[in-house]
């Protein structure tokens, strides 16, 4: 057991763990007295990827491709392959990820275990909706081939199953055909929540990708104002001048002092960001990389929050503006603006995952620097609103929700726990299933 810091992206969960690894997919899991948890690239924000006082099985050496059907877009990979590796291989062949989160530095195993989603949820659903099959390696050495037709129950328990049902060794996914690596985008400045609602509705049918950035400090009539961004893969290969792809790969080389991100700087940033675009509507062509992964070009951007780390909070609530307004009011009232607030409407493509977070409704993603009890109190308040609205909070981004909240958000957690590998556990799972 060694003490380890910063194994998860929010940078404040310190753990004492044993690190093991699985380097070949044909081998059995390493033997451990302590309970185990598979670990990918550590991009979950809280403790869902951690196993304090236990073993974490590093799966990143399982990074090999298995097969690629270039005609039909079926790709079979080991579970430690990162989405960035997939894009590098498939984009030049005219194939794209069917769904992608806001970072390409996650493993396929992690993407399944958290059933991640992206800006096209209203079209293709979650990552798990596009998985055709995978192998689940259990601690007793059993290998289960899981698909919508075979071992169906383990298939749906493992999608969004937080790594608890066993270790995914490989998976097959169905890619999406593209004509070029570019996205035709439109950014629209809007001034109220109602305007957001109508933009979202009007765009759903014609745009594959939709998302909004919200100025969370705006109040009154302007509550919810922001930029609505929508886009589609460019239909034809661009000739002539190509849009530039900035390959800066800046890195944040050290942790910022705590408190650099405070009410004042967040306010300034939000004002600047809102006004960066003068015209109401701006059309542009973007390479897929800055469009989907704007923060990936600043490696270790999480260090700007200082050594105390930060909280992400992502919830989904039904599409009625009352819960959304209450959430935004609470944030504005607490004067704890979130640096980046993202708002998106989920569609009705249902995920096979038993514990999947995405469901029809409106989802908010917020980040807050860790200011101790003040931040926790605000997040508790948000939980009350989400519970009242019968919404849910995203485990991959959580480090603090109560067992009571979790069990209300995911009422089938008990049915799910039947599928947990008896030798697997996680810090998150112990926390949210503690007796209430």
């Amino acid at each position: 057991m060694t003490k380890r810091k910063n194994l998860s992206w929010g940078r404040f969960n310190d753990v004492e763990v044993k690190i093991q690894s699985l380097n070949w997919r044909n081998q059995n899991l390493p033997i451990s007295e302590e309970k185990q948890l598979p670990y990918g690239n550590g991009r979950s924000y809280g403790d869902s990827c951690l196993n304090d006082q236990g073993s974490m099985i590093d799966g990143k050496k399982l990074n090999r491709f298995i097969s690629f059907d270039r005609q039909n877009g079926l790709l079979k990979v080991e579970a430690g392959v990162m989405l960035s590796d997939i894009l590098a291989l498939t984009v030049p062949n005219g194939w794209f990820l069917p769904a992608t989160p806001g970072t390409k530095f996650v493993t396929v195993g992690g993407a399944i275990a958290n059933d991640v989603h992206g800006k096209n949820h209203h079209v293709t659903g979650t990552f798990g909706c596009n998985i055709t099959q995978f192998e689940l390696l259990r601690s007793d050495g059993q290998r289960l081939l899981c698909s919508p037709t075979e071992n169906k129950d383990y298939f749906s328990a493992s999608i969004g199953g937080l790594g608890l049902t066993g270790m995914i060794t490989w998976a097959e996914l169905k890619l999406k055909r593209i004509q070029s690596p570019y996205i035709d985008c439109e950014s629209i400045k809007y001034n109220s929540l109602n305007e957001f609602m109508s933009l979202s509705e009007e765009s759903a049918a014609q745009y594959e990708y939709t998302v909004a950035w919200v100025d969370c400090l705006a109040t009154g009539d302007q509550l919810g104002k922001g930029h609505f961004i929508r886009g589609n893969h460019t239909g034809s290969i661009i000739t002539g001048k190509q849009p530039s792809l900035s390959q800066s790969n800046l890195s944040v080389p050290f942790s910022f002092p705590n408190g650099v991100l405070n009410g004042l700087t967040v306010n300034m940033f939000n004002t600047l960001y809102f006004n960066r675009q003068f015209a109401r509507t701006k059309e542009f062509v973007s390479h897929y990389d800055p469009f989907f992964y704007p923060l990936d070009s600043i490696l270790d951007w999480n260090r700007i929050y200082g050594s105390k780390g930060f909280f992400q909070y992502q919830c989904v609530v039904p599409k009625n503006d009352q819960a959304m307004r209450e959430i935004m009011h609470s944030i504005a009232d607490a004067k704890m603006g979130s640096f980046l607030t993202v708002l998106k409407e989920f569609g009705d493509v249902e995920s096979p995952g038993m514990l999947s977070f995405p469901r029809k409704g409106m989802t908010f993603a917020l980040d807050f620097p860790n200011q101790g009890p003040r931040t926790l109190a605000l997040l508790e308040r948000l939980d009350d609103i989400v519970k009242e609205a019968k919404g849910a909070v995203y485990p991959a981004k959580d480090a603090r929700m109560s067992a009571e909240s979790f069990q209300q958000y995911y009422p089938n957690w008990k049915a799910f726990s039947e599928y947990i590998d008896p030798h697997f556990s996680s810090s998150f799972w112990r926390r949210v299933t503690a007796p209430i």
Partner: protein, 245 residues
């Protein structure tokens, strides 16, 4: 399109290097002990773009099998442009240092089998008058240390042998590259605590690929090991013998 022979193809460094050749459309011939692992790596290289991949299961400790594997490779690929020798084990020094039998085993795997392969490959490359033989040695061969001197002895032999061979084959236009990795985070070193000195196999593989392309003679990888080893080699023996290295 290059024809590349990879000996010890299931090692993490060798595979990371092989992936770069695959991405450039090379034909690859993989040698290793374990068929299943070779097949796993072969399909990865195939997907990445190798024009063809062959696997051949050989126990490299058996030097009498070496000529056969080289002949089969030439037969399959027609010719070899690049041969990379990368197999090895990192036996636990404390466990083997009191047994000559175990010492000899470690020397065979990490040293003598290299000399056998190099001898036979030189016989092929010399008349061909072109190509590269790239060989994994180690910084451990630069100076004997109590924690790792048996492996170090084998690698010192590999370094000196390749140095001489380079001198001989330079006249025929064949390049011999001696590769001295520092600490690399591979399954072979999974038990060590990792510090900033550790590099990924991908980084080391990329440096090997580049060094072969540029016809380099000796590389330390990552590069800063050259300077670390200059310091380590310059410590007078009278002090060095008292250190815990």
């Amino acid at each position: 399109m290059k024809n590349v022979l990879i000996i010890g193809a299931t090692s993490a460094i060798a595979h990371a290097t092989a992936r770069l050749y695959a991405q450039h459309g090379a034909q690859l011939y993989l040698i290793g002990r374990n068929k299943e692992k070779l097949d796993i790596n072969a399909s990865d290289l195939q997907v990445l773009g190798a024009s063809s991949v062959f696997v051949d299961v050989v126990d490299l400790d058996d030097v009498s099998a070496h000529q056969g594997l080289i002949d089969r490779c030439i037969n399959q690929l027609n010719s070899i442009d690049i041969a990379l020798i990368a197999h090895g084990t990192l036996a636990d020094q404390a466990e083997i240092q009191t047994s000559y039998e175990k010492t000899l085993e470690a020397l065979t795997t990490n040293g003598l089998s290299y000399l056998s392969l190099l001898t036979r490959l030189a016989n092929y490359f010399e008349p061909q008058r072109k190509g590269t033989i790239a060989v994994i040695s180690s910084v451990a061969g630069d100076r004997g240390r109590q924690s790792n001197y048996i492996y170090g002895t084998a690698k010192a032999a590999v370094s000196t042998f390749t140095q001489g061979l380079r001198n001989r084959l330079a006249k025929s236009g064949v390049n011999v590259l001696t590769i001295k990795p520092g600490f690399v985070d591979t399954p072979m070193t999974a038990d060590f605590d990792k510090s900033a000195l550790w590099a990924s196999p991908e980084k080391v593989g990329a440096e090997i690929f580049e060094a072969i392309k540029r016809g380099k003679d000796i590389i330390y990888t990552p590069f800063f090991w050259r300077y670390i080893m200059i310091v380590i080699k310059s410590i007078p023996e009278i002090l060095f013998k008292k250190l815990n290295l």
